[in-house]
Symmetry: C2
Subunit: 309 residues, 2 copies
């Protein structure tokens, strides 16, 4: 199995100017798994409560997501509630009920430890560090958030030193390095050890920085209807790493061109995640629709290499 992901599986309550829904399947690991499963096999490591609905287990099963690492314990599933403002770019958190997630202590089943890629979704850096010690993956990647930059900076720095790839939102990269200049922030993060840095810019796309000084930039897909941006960054990570996993399976190794295409797939999955409530759009996605959107990306980003003719 190609990717192991460790992170949150949650039940989200989401309000947007276009509607509201209670207890939809959410959490970083859910979005990541559903997106990555369109490219490769996924091992999910998470914890849920006794109240976790069977229909969401069926979502994962339909996509052949391995749930052997998803523990069900007594108590309530992690719940999050958020309300989006009219511009859909800003949101308020209405509530966070950690439930059984408060005691999450991820243990990787033996057969998960050798998957080529492990993704440490946004959880407490100490837990990410514990998972790092359990895995023999060739490509170890992490995501994080402002909360950990503010409250667990040293541990976070330690995890970053231990991974090969960091995925981070633009403003978090600036905050972590304390510089307004993104290129300077990228250099400082890569100096800690990772070979690759992916900066997520939301509706502006994403950037890829290599420790070898390489750089690649891709704009976002121009969405007409943004119905719910929840989980877009996690779906982005699923598309990005899922595509890389599929390349490892097909070719045994990764080229710089693979990383560039992976960034496009990240943008593609991020865009699909925004088009429907919760995971709905990613859930119904087909390889044909991904391929069609990839072709659109080619068409709307390419220009002639020579400017003289």
């Amino acid at each position: 199995m190609a990717i192991t992901v460790v992170g949150s599986v949650a039940l989200d309550t989401i309000e947007t100017p276009f509607g509201a829904q209670d207890d939809v399947l959410g959490g970083a690991a859910s979005y990541f798994s559903m997106a990555a499963s369109l490219y490769t096999g996924v091992n999910l490591v998470a914890v849920v409560g006794g109240d976790f609905p069977d229909r969401y287990r069926a979502y994962f099963a339909e996509r052949h997501i391995n749930q052997d690492g998803m523990r069900t314990v007594e108590g309530e599933t992690f719940r999050w509630g958020g309300r989006y403002h009219l511009d859909m770019n800003t949101r308020d958190t209405l509530f966070t009920k950690l439930g059984v997630f408060a005691d999450f202590d991820p243990v990787l089943p033996e057969q998960f430890r050798r998957s080529p890629i492990t993704f440490l979704a946004n959880i407490q850096p100490q837990l990410q560090l514990n998972v790092l010690k359990q895995t023999q993956s060739r490509l170890r990647a992490l995501d994080t958030m402002n909360l950990w930059i503010d409250t667990a900076r040293e541990t976070l720095e330690q995890v970053i030193r231990g991974v090969d790839l960091v995925l981070i939102a633009e403003e978090e990269a600036r905050d972590f390095v304390k510089t307004p200049n993104l290129r300077a922030a990228a250099r400082a993060i890569l100096a800690l050890g990772p070979r690759t840095l992916v900066v997520k810019q939301g509706s502006y796309g994403a950037l890829l920085f290599g420790a070898d000084g390489s750089f690649f930039a891709a704009p976002a897909y121009p969405l007409e209807d943004v119905r719910d941006p929840t989980g877009a960054g996690d779906a982005f990570a699923g598309g990005f790493l899922g595509y890389l996993a599929s390349r490892i399976e097909a070719a045994g190794d990764l080229t710089p061109a693979d990383y560039r295409r992976a960034l496009i797939h990240g943008n593609i999955m991020g865009s699909f995640a925004c088009e429907e409530f919760g995971l709905e759009c990613v859930h119904t996605l087909t390889p044909e629709r991904i391929a069609a959107r990839y072709d659109e990306f080619v068409r709307f980003t390419h220009f002639e290499g020579s400017w003289h003719e």
Copy 2:
């Protein structure tokens, strides 16, 4: 002569976290002219006071910018003062002294009226409308700002109906159409008549929308040192329209590929404008440095058209 530009020539006082300077050459038409002059001949229509320094006339003359339409009248040149915050993305206007610019009544010299491109830089929409009546250009373009969207909306709409191309900052496009969705904003602006819309996104790059439904997106150049973003949008317009003018001169007509490459040249000139105080960087620029940066754009944006190999 290929481009006629009508707009402000000013003396700027700029404070940034990295230094401050008084009375540097500024104004939209100055930045536009200096940038466009690297690609084509430029006719400048503006007004300055008796205090306008000869050394700035020499700047224009060095670049063969035709100053026959720049009137010098009794009084003071337009002065603007601004202070940038640490992140360089936000600034406060410290003062605006319109001086002789308050009575600007642009009259195009006869030989300027048939230039293939006319650019109405950001000035009062009524003045833009007056200029439109004087020109026979095949490509008429305008820029604008929030002030006119708020105070002269109807006249602005009238000018937009009369031009072929609109250049506008992202947040202004949203404000003008009153929608958070950029794609919807673009469609509404194009429905007024222009064939082409360019949306400037600052450090995120630029977008090109065609009335035929075509779309192109280009990320910005990743600057390590942003010393002064003043005039970057006007330099962008100069690179974009200057390149188009050079294509009209060379080929007699414009292709969709020309517009895409023009957007890259807009980003290039915008990036150079940010690298030094005032117009310094654009002033010392050479075609070789533009070509080298174009090649960098090709390298950091291109990816394989097929995602399967």
